[in-house]
């Protein structure tokens, strides 16, 4: 019997809503685990990435670690999917692109309401922020797009089942939403 396709997922600069929407496929997740093997994903809590057939990327690219993780996913996944609005166009996190990074940091850590002990964190373990949040297609080539904030469970299910069956992906009208 051929090995099952390996699927990895990750959340970069997102809110984890797309992963929650993936869980919203409810009992169909039991069918899914019969069809695929999950590699690195928050669902398995596996931290390292193996060679995969499919990688779902939630979230945009906001810091140096996001860039590294995304590049590794591109290297190790045959097919890469922009999963949800932040991965597709930067989404809500990209609203900080209206301001300079210095303005954002000052507001968050120095001047914001309720800030105690003001000061911008500089621990070397904290990934360095990029000047702007970018959608993932501005950093790596992507193969498929799942729009939505988040994509609905049915949209995700349509994609996964049609992809795994080798069919062309076709979303119905109600499955295409940008919000």
């Amino acid at each position: 019997m051929a090995e099952k396709p390996r699927v990895a997922t990750v959340s970069l600069c997102g809110c984890f809503g797309c992963h929650m929407s993936l869980l919203d496929i409810d009992e169909r997740i039991l069918d899914l685990v019969d069809l695929v093997t999950f590699d690195r994903t928050p669902l398995t809590d596996i931290k390292t990435l193996g060679d995969c057939d499919l990688g779902l990327i939630e979230g945009g690219v906001a810091n140096a670690e996001n860039v590294e993780v995304l590049l590794e996913f591109r290297r190790r996944c045959k097919v890469l999917v922009a999963f949800g609005a932040c991965a597709v166009n930067g989404g809500i996190p990209a609203m900080r692109n209206q301001f300079s990074l210095a303005e954002c940091l000052r507001e968050s850590y120095c001047d914001g309401i309720g800030v105690h002990n003001p000061g911008i964190p500089n621990d070397p373990e904290i990934p360095l922020l990029l000047n702007q949040v970018h959608p993932i297609h501005e950093v790596v080539a992507i193969d498929y797009v799942l729009p939505g904030c988040p994509p609905s469970a049915d949209t995700i299910w349509t994609f996964l089942t049609e992809f795994l069956e080798g069919k062309p992906i076709a979303f119905s009208y109600t499955q295409i939403h940008f919000d």
């Binding site: 166009n89 109600t174 295409i176 940008f178």
Partner: protein, 239 residues
């Protein structure tokens, strides 16, 4: 006997002086559009309504209908070009659909759904644009302006006020407001003006009425714009 032309193989009657768009709308045939509103003079700026006439591509809202012409509005080539135009409109502004209260009743979004646009494809400009909340009844978010000039035309031709104009060239083009401070609150603009009710995106929004319709029940949540029609026709329902 009335004159006709063919639109995607269907005979469309028209009268002299009508554009392809006029005749198509009268016949109940949808051609995607953003800067067109039958109540205002055609503008031909968004190019979303482009159609093939033989070897040429023209904007249906400005091209005159003529006897026997064969118009293609639905080929994959035309849809792909429309998608590219829409993708450029999306990356040139800041269209954050999840954070916009016009979402679900937004014509830009609806036309993008209709053409099958899934992603912006191009590199985002992420321009820095202001929000003008100076007016007591209406807010303008310039991030969402697509320069269709519907508010410009409505204010000038219908309201007789000339509150809006486009200034600058190319990438610097932007909407300006006729007031001493440049702010809407200092202009003669009123919420009852037609210009307050023609914006196809969430750039001009009434204050105090946001998010009235739940997700899933908004204008374009269930049915495409080709069936439901322009947002202006549902103004009272969705604003």
């Amino acid at each position: 006997m009335s004159k006709t032309f063919k639109l995607d193989g269907r005979e469309i009657p028209f009268e002299t002086g009508q554009t392809i768009m006029d005749a198509a709308l009268a016949a109940g045939v949808y051609i995607p559009h953003l800067c067109h509103n039958p109540e205002l003079a055609p503008h031909g700026s968004c190019r979303v309504c482009l159609v093939d006439i033989g070897e040429r591509q023209v904007s249906a809202c400005t091209a005159a209908a003529s006897e026997g012409m064969e118009v293609d509005s639905s080929s994959e080539t035309i849809q792909a070009t429309r998608r590219a135009i829409l993708q450029m409109l999306f990356v040139e502004g800041n269209h954050v659909c999840p954070a916009c209260e016009k979402s679900g009743a937004c014509q830009l979004q609806a036309v993008a759904y209709y053409t099958g646009m899934l992603a912006p494809h191009f590199t985002h400009f992420f321009p820095r644009r202001p929000v003008d909340a100076s007016h007591p009844d209406v807010v303008i978010d310039f991030n969402r302006c697509i320069l269709c000039e519907l508010c410009v035309r409505a204010s000038r031709d219908h309201d007789g006020k000339r509150v809006f104009a486009i200034s600058g060239r190319g990438l610097e083009s932007h909407l300006v407001i006729d007031s001493p401070s440049g702010l809407l609150g200092d202009s003669c603009f009123a919420a009852a003006d037609k210009a307050a009710h023609v914006c196809p995106t969430g750039a001009i929004l009434p204050k105090g009425r946001g998010y009235e319709t739940p997700i899933g029940e908004r204008l374009y949540d269930r049915e495409p714009i080709s069936i439901v029609g322009d947002v202006r026709a549902h103004e009272e329902e969705v604003v």
